[in-house]
């Protein structure tokens, strides 16, 4: 099914994680630095690419990945479990027209790499092509993940007090809190991409994520909620303000649920709060603008570029350049420059999100959206950080304009059918709007709409854009990648709310 999904982080879900790797200092010119420790050389890559092109593919690339993930989890008052994972492997891709052959292996020896490349080569069936012997830097890397405290230099003894402190503060914040889970993840490592054009680039890609969730009890009722933050950053990410916010928001978002009512069922105006409501864009338009679906003619947005899809004050971008954001990248997983792409410009559908295959198909420059989960997966067009630019209205004005509707604040997940255009997102926290005022809290309600129809109904956009700091993960065709999203306060004049009140 051509469906994209989006899931928020939670402290309940377990991950894997770690080891020590010492990446090279930033800012070095081309050549192999990080992967030299694994015996990767230009000669090894040249040999693999020669095998990849041995049956006449148009182009080929190799993608080496080393990722070390560490997880610490606190449950029942103690940091009593750790998870660590090391991923090391290489994927070889051969492209012939829009056809792809792919192989991967964890064994980086010349013989294993050659066998893997020959597997991928089988997509083509012709005389061999010449492969490069020397490589040059694919792109100059911007510094979008500056960090001061590298994860491979932070021992668990520095991380443990952070989790213990959050636990104590969450319990102290409200006597109704009965269970607290804290989960801290960090990732260090790098990717190396080299292709048959002789381009080569290495990028070190840090990531961290912190989730606090709690269960509260009152009057025989239980509610569960939480808050999470994520970014491409080091240990310095966890400053006092951010940690305060994690505790405050996690507890507030849980305890407010005791007052929550079921919202009504049916169509009504919906106001989306600034920040994580960007989930609307991710589902309503982002996936549908991924060029693979359009190249295949299966997206509801196929053939709509250049046509008006929203009011003139609606501008939507997918941006790789937000420094430190979870969705930021210096370079995409095909070695292409990654910048800011306009999906909708002044209400007009502007640019699809391209990988190299779709860019060739449409004869445009790749937009740097070719991404992959890891070495076991070929790249495809994916979002990075998707958000709407500020508009002409004010938040207060927007809320005041609604007689009866809902205000959505916090979300857990969303999904879309790319061809029919139907999408959903699940609201964990929000409020009823009655006569222009936020009144009773609401919870646990799914919202369902149709992408193009809902974009047309975005009739007010505020000036208060926020990029959400949460740990969003986008799923497509079995591959997960980290993304960000954002929104100013927005009004959708009518959409179906899956409530059950009157």
């Amino acid at each position: 099914m051509s469906a994209g999904t989006l899931i928020a982080a939670s402290a309940g879900g377990v991950v894997e994680g770690s080891a020590t790797a010492r990446p090279a200092p930033d800012g070095r010119p081309g050549g192999i630095h990080y992967f030299a420790r694994f015996g990767v050389t230009e000669a090894l890559i040249a040999e693999a690419l020669a095998a990849a092109l041995s049956r006449g593919g148009d182009s080929a690339d190799v993608y080496f990945q080393h990722r070390v993930t560490n997880d610490l989890a606190l449950e029942d008052g103690a940091v009593n479990r750790a998870y660590a994972a090391v991923e090391l492997g290489v994927g070889v891709r051969v492209v012939k027209g829009d056809q792809t052959g792919y192989g991967y292996t964890e064994d980086l020896s010349p013989s294993a790499l050659r066998a893997c490349a020959q597997t991928a080569a089988a997509i083509a069936d012709g005389p061999s092509r010449a492969a490069p012997e020397r490589f040059h830097l694919a792109v100059r890397l911007p510094q979008r993940y500056p960090l001061t405290l590298r994860w491979d230099e932070i021992g668990s003894e520095r991380k443990l007090p952070l989790l213990d402190g959050l636990n104590a503060r969450a319990f102290a914040a409200d006597p109704r809190v009965r269970k607290v889970n804290v989960h801290l993840r960090d990732e260090a490592g790098a990717v190396l991409i080299a292709d048959s054009e002789g381009r080569l680039v290495e990028d070190e890609q840090p990531m961290t994520l912190l989730a606090l969730s709690c269960v509260a009890e009152a009057g025989g009722r239980r509610e569960q909620g939480g808050y999470n933050v994520a970014g491409r950053a080091g240990f310095e990410f966890y400053g006092p303000e951010r940690l305060d916010r994690v505790v405050r928001e996690a507890v507030a978002r849980t305890t407010v649920l005791f007052e929550a009512v079921a919202p009504p069922a049916g169509e009504m105006p919906v106001v989306l709060a600034a920040g994580s409501s960007g989930i609307l864009l991710h589902e309503a338009i982002g996936h549908g603008m991924e060029a693979d679906f359009n190249r295949k003619g299966v997206s509801i947005y196929a053939d709509k570029v250049g046509k008006p899809v929203a009011r003139p004050f609606v501008n939507i971008v997918d941006d790789a350049t937000n420094v430190g954001a979870r969705g930021a990248i210096n370079v995409d997983d095909e070695g292409n420059e990654a910048g800011c792409t306009h999906l909708v410009e002044n209400g007009v559908l502007a640019t699809y999100l391209h990988d190299a295959i779709s860019a060739r198909h449409y004869r445009v420059t790749p937009t740097g959206n070719g991404r992959r989960q890891g070495y076991a997966f070929p790249p495809m067009p994916r979002m990075r950080s998707t958000y709407m630019l500020p508009g002409p209205h004010r938040r207060e004005e927007i809320i005041r304009s609604v007689k009866k509707g809902i205000y959505c604040q916090n979300f857990t997940n969303g999904q879309v059918n790319i061809g029919a255009g139907d999408f959903t997102f699940y609201v964990k926290n929000g409020y009823l709007i009655e006569d222009g005022r936020l009144t009773r809290p609401i919870k646990d309600v799914n919202i369902i709409g149709n992408g193009p129809r809902v974009l047309e109904k975005v009739d007010m956009v505020s000036d208060d854009l926020e990029i959400d700091e949460g740990g969003w993960t986008c799923g497509k065709d079995g591959q997960n990648v980290p993304v960000s999203q954002g929104l100013p306060t927005v009004r959708v004049s009518s959409i179906t709310v899956g409530g059950r009140g009157a």
Binding site: Y83, A84, E106, N446
Partner: protein, 443 residues
């Protein structure tokens, strides 16, 4: 040494290494998996992916503390450094008195049945045969009545050969070899109003000979997609809901999420304290059966090495068992059952889908869920749906962009009929289910 022997030895060596580095107990899992997938689109090959992949996981019990690790970097010196580093890390954690390997008494007796999970003809599958199947699936889709409206057909064919090995320092050693074969077809069609609705059909089996005819899968995908043309949003209303077999697993799955010992112990289960109580209609009679020959969820031992046995999860609507692993079982003072589901089978009714629809008269048949979520702490759920209006006992117009909401505590007592048509291509073999008075949201 053959590769399987090598991976078993890797697991054994990892346990010995962990003990040498200071772990009091350890468990290791190693795997070697060959994956092949062919994707075909609109008359040509789209993508071929093939790889043999391997990895190692290790659980360490060090001075009353616990950590679990995994790596795909199996170079001996790298594994050595990794284990040493992790033992050091584990020593910095809090002591956890509930962490230990399972009681070895629970490793036996394993059932003496041949689960027949490996197709011995696996090696006979060829790239040409896979391509021919992928192409055949497309032809079948394009042979469906009304195929002029088809925009695109994507099919995929894949198979997996997996060997996994598990070794515990307190005496457990297990190995298994399984094969999986799957086919799928996805069809997009043109709706005159500009939408491009899509639907899919798929099948999976342990043995290649058990896959259905290509015409069944390709044809079903096309028929389903074509039937979505002209879908409309219906009125918000309380209606009888039938859920098609292949979609019903989503509902059962969210109910099962509240049965895990970790959810119980962490106060995140609305089914806490309900063991032995009636929580659903008597038609909910659900068995966890790990011993079904050729089953997609079959196993002789579970993820902790515990000998697998069939048990009732719900018996005539009464909650009969939780899913209890060693760790949370100790925390709760409950005997372990197993950490998570194997195959799930429901006691079947007498009627097929058409028969159930004829009985229900007016309502909605849900053929797919879209997004949404279920809150295992409170039992609240809210899910996007698509399907068909049912009028006078027959399928009516397609509906979409609608939603169902409620609470599991209220939904399952309203289960009013169960079909005779379990979905074969999932470990969760749900039949068509019918529920009375469900809140739909639409217009």
């Amino acid at each position: 040494m053959d590769p399987a022997e090598t991976m078993l030895e890797t697991a054994r060596a990892a346990v010995r290494l962990a003990e040498r580095k200071g772990a009091r107990e350890a468990a290791a899992g190693a795997y070697r998996v060959r994956n092949v997938e062919v994707q075909w689109r609109d008359g040509r090959l789209e993508r071929v992916s093939e790889a043999t992949t391997r990895g190692l996981g290790l659980e360490l019990y060090v001075d009353g503390r616990y950590a679990s690790v995994s790596t795909s970097d199996l170079r001996p010196e790298a594994v050595d450094r990794f284990v040493e580093g992790t033992v050091r890390l584990t020593r910095t954690l809090a002591v956890d008195p509930y962490r230990a390997l399972p009681d070895p008494a629970l490793y036996a007796p394993q059932a003496r049945v041949d689960l027949d999970l490996e197709d011995r003809h696996y090696q006979e599958n060829t790239p040409e045969a896979r391509r021919a199947v992928a192409e055949g699936l497309e032809s079948a889709a394009r042979a469906a009545p009304g195929a002029e409206a088809i925009l695109s057909v994507t099919t995929s064919v894949g198979d997996t050969f997996a060997e996994t090995f598990r070794v515990h320092s307190n005496g457990f050693e297990g190995s298994r070899r399984v094969t999986d074969f799957w086919v799928s077809a996805q069809v997009s069609v043109q709706d005159p109003d500009g939408r491009r609705p899509e639907d899919w059909a798929a099948a999976a089996a342990r043995h290649r000979s058990e896959l259905p005819a290509l015409s069944d899968v390709g044809g079903e995908a096309a028929r389903r997609a074509l039937s979505r043309v002209g879908s409309r949003k219906g009125d918000s209303a309380l209606l009888t809901m039938a859920v098609e077999n292949r979609a019903a697993g989503r509902l059962l799955g969210s109910l099962l999420a509240a049965l895990g010992a970790s959810a119980l112990q962490q106060k995140r289960s609305f089914l806490e304290g309900q063991l032995g109580r009636k929580v659903a209609s008597r038609l909910l009679d659900l068995k966890d059966d790990p011993l079904l020959p050729r089953g997609l969820g079959s196993r002789l031992y579970d993820g902790e090495g515990l000998a697998a046995r069939p048990f009732k999860v719900f018996e005539e609507g009464t909650l009969a068992s939780y899913y209890v692993d060693t760790y949370y079982g100790k925390k709760l003072g409950m005997a372990p059952t197993t950490r998570g589901p194997s195959n799930l089978t429901l006691k079947l009714g007498a009627k097929d889908r058409a028969g159930l629809l004829a009985d229900l008269g007016e309502g909605i048949l849900v053929t797919g869920f879209l997004g949404g979520n279920s809150n295992s702490t409170t039992g609240d759920f809210s899910l996007g749906v698509q399907g068909f209006r049912v009028r006078e006992g027959r399928l009516g117009e397609p509906i979409g962009e609608m939603n169902v909401s409620g609470r599991h505590q209220e939904l399952w007592p309203r289960l009013s009929a169960v079909g005779n048509d379990p979905y074969r291509y999932s470990a969760l073999r749900a039949p068509t289910l019918v529920f009375e008075r469900v809140q739909f949201a639409g217009l």
